[in-house]
Subunit: 327 residues, 2 copies
């Protein structure tokens, strides 16, 4: 298995990416780690950190897509950037997964441009883990890839979340909830009311109804779907509250679960190959977690499962539209 | 000054409302407290709690709008309920403000039906206090009265929040922010992008730009506007996280500020008289805070200020449409 790593992505690039890859090379010796970035800079870091350069395959790139770059323009104008090259390798099957802590927009746009969306999907989405007091964390999606959504998008996110949760936590039938501002089906905004109705009829998921903000951290639902605007607001509210409580010197095992560094970034769900985006401030150990998540995604063939689920979904939709197909 | 209290509203009615009114009667002896509710039940509580019934004016009502009642139907079918009677008194000027910990929907609908919206407004809104590490809290609005909003609604919320913040914290020019998922003006969903553009041109407020979820608890903005869906999600996410951390036995002064009991409910902003709605689980001391907030709203003539601000706003809008008016 070959995992591609954008060595130039993130606020601490390429140092933390290289350090993370080095740690992963010892704990996961069978994985080939392919670093995309400046050979010169990676060599310098390996020398100063006493890391054997031979542990990695290096794809020397001359350009970097900066955090502030416009995603579409940057991908067009910087074909020899670490991100563009990473995607190019992934699209050609030269690596099995690609991860970066760089420009999230460029990673999303690149995912769609190079890998294409799975048939039946017209949006990718991002997920976030939601810490709960007991048991597995919950999963929230979309958390920022789609600021404006239609009910059909949220329905497809529920299928994606269902498969991802099953992979991550070995739970056969996760409980799927809809983020809303009331428990009753008639509560909410236009989007959530229409989505509620749709999800009650969606095949292949165990929809348990609306989930209010206060129940997000409970075990009422395992996977909670929402538009990317709401999801992004929520994860950033949690982040803000977490940092304020850390400033108050509160030390608590549960609170600590809100520290993003424990999670290996977010899979770009909905494209045809495994892509993982991390927080800009990602450090070495979190890079290791991103690499682990990439490996798990490849091993469990999550993308294949998503493709199959979407094929089934399209067939079920066409059955609904043309009932005679059922015969 | 006469403050009307729905004695039958809330999960602990009428006990906690009566106890709260009793405490307020000693700390605010000049205020006439008018209780709307069952005379029999209020008398029983006064006897069992050794409270002098003569401290209050009682308006005996025979009906109760339950938490589960449909707001519009209940107001129509229960004209002699404590909520209907309270609004009727307020509309007739027999009391100066009305407060309840009962059915929020009925309180919102009643506010509009009995008191009418301030000229220039077509939606009321609800606000919530946002605890910050230092200084005054922030203010978030709308937090649930309007699940679907247009940019024009959020613009008017910014005017309302501006005046309320000035009243509550004696800050002349509060910083107004727009809740969004990015700091840059071009970030966000269709609503937030259009609202951003509108707020940069809104007269009478100090608009400082987008506020991400993580900055909600900082002093970047004093007042943050959003649609009621997002606002309600956020306050309930804070509530959920607060309760989980309390379950972890964390005791902290800042965390404790997320306990709603410290705040006296939420003003229904945008109608022509002061109305305050409280959480269903409100207890006596929080009723006192609701009464204090009602008194402050009456004393500072907040509603008059809102009416004047809206008149100015309408005039400024007509100047924009007909520049010749400026002469």
């Amino acid at each position: 298995m070959k995992i591609g790593i954008d060595a130039m992505g993130g606020d601490h690039a390429p140092l933390e990416a290289v350090k993370g890859a080095f740690i992963a090379s010892s704990t996961m010796p069978l994985i080939e780690l392919v670093l995309f970035g400046s050979l010169l800079k990676i060599t310098e870091i390996c020398e100063s950190e006493s890391i054997d350069l031979g542990l990695f395959t290096i794809v020397d790139t001359t350009d970097v897509i900066e955090m502030s770059d416009h995603p579409v323009k940057a991908l067009l104008s910087k074909p020899n950037s670490s991100i563009s090259q990473g995607f190019s390798y992934l699209a050609q099957g030269k690596i099995d997964a690609f991860l970066s802590a760089g420009n999230t927009g460029a990673m999303l746009v690149g995912s769609i441009q190079f890998l294409k969306l799975v048939d039946g999907l017209d949006r990718p989405c991002l997920t976030s883990v939601i810490p709960r007091l007991q048991g597995n964390p919950g999963l929230l999606l979309d958390v920022g890839a789609n600021a404006d959504c239609k009910p059909e998008h949220l329905e497809k996110f529920s299928l994606l979340g269902n498969l991802l949760y099953t992979m991550m936590y070995k739970v056969d039938t996760p409980k799927i909830g809809l983020l809303n501002i009331g428990e009753e089906s008639e509560k909410g905004n236009l989007l959530s009311k229409a989505t509620h109705q749709l999800l009650t009829q969606t095949q292949g998921i165990h929809f348990i109804g609306n989930i209010e903000g206060r129940d997000l951290f409970s075990d009422k639902a395992d996977v909670v779907v929402c538009d990317g605007f709401s999801g992004n607001l929520i994860i950033k509210v949690c982040e803000g509250l977490y940092y304020n409580l850390v400033k108050r010197d509160i030390q608590d095992e549960y609170l600590d679960k809100f520290n993003f560094k424990h999670y290996g970034g977010s899979l770009v769900l909905g494209v045809n190959a495994p892509v993982i985006v991390g927080h800009g401030i990602t450090k070495d150990k979190t890079f290791v977690k991103m690499i682990e998540l990439a490996c798990e995604t490849v091993e469990t063939q999550l993308m294949r499962k998503i493709q199959k689920a979407m094929t089934r979904f399209i067939a079920s939709q066409s059955d609904v539209l043309n009932p005679s197909n059922e015969n």
